[in-house]
């Protein structure tokens, strides 16, 4: 008599497991974000006290979108320069608004114009690198699928 594996996962159980894992991942990320906000604005902790969480969240989001692009969950048929530039502009605008709010509204840092400009240079550079990174992986993902189709 053949022994059945203890964990016999068929396509339905894999599907359910995938959904449950995705929901739990989403809730964990939300919980971590709430934790960072509470630490910063309720407990007035120094940014160094929760920097590790912020880095984990940033890297996680970055790699989540990268994986979605590479494995074809976000399928981009053709990369148009106009679309990439608009996307880049949106990231820069959001980054600028976030930075302004962070330093001039939520905290009393009140950045001077030159300090804000320095931050802007960082935002422009990092946003550019992120867009290039995602572009690279969407191209690699498309190539992977095309290779499988050949």
């Amino acid at each position: 008599m053949s022994k059945k594996p203890f964990l016999n996962m068929d396509e339905r159980s894999k599907q359910i497991a995938g959904k449950v894992i995705a929901i739990m991942y989403f809730l964990t990320i939300i919980a971590l974000q709430i934790d960072v906000i509470v630490r910063q604005f309720v407990f007035d902790q120094n940014i160094h006290d929760f920097e590790d969480l912020a880095i984990i969240l940033t890297i996680n989001s970055l790699f989540l979108i990268t994986a979605l692009l590479y494995f074809g969950a976000i399928s981009i048929q053709k990369l148009k320069i106009k679309f990439v530039l608009i996307f880049y502009a949106w990231i820069v605008v959001l980054g600028t608004i976030f930075t302004y709010l962070k330093y001039n509204v939520f905290t009393d840092a009140n950045l001077s114009f030159s300090q804000l400009m320095n931050k802007l240079v960082i935002i422009f550079t990092i946003s550019g690198l992120i867009v290039l990174f995602w572009m690279l992986f969407s191209i690699l993902g498309k190539r992977k699928i095309d290779k499988e189709l050949d």
Partner: protein
């Protein structure tokens, strides 16, 4: 409810568990397919059709009555 699948399985003298073992699925999955509460993948449909010596049409095609 997918009566065609249930009838074909019974006609072959197979229990849900035996059919599940033949196609590499769980008994619950076969039960849910028969109840019409789970949409199997085409791959699983083909495996089930082969195990029961039927075509996909025999098991999964729903006739629409236009009258």
């Amino acid at each position: 409810m997918n009566m065609k699948l249930k009838l074909a399985r019974v006609a072959k003298n197979l229990s849900q568990q035996e059919l599940a073992d033949l196609v590499g699925a769980s008994r619950q999955t076969i039960g849910l397919i028969e109840k019409g509460k789970y949409n199997p993948s085409l791959k699983l449909c083909i495996s089930i059709a082969k195990a029961l010596d039927k075509t996909l049409n025999d098991l999964f095609w729903e006739e629409i009555n236009h009258e």
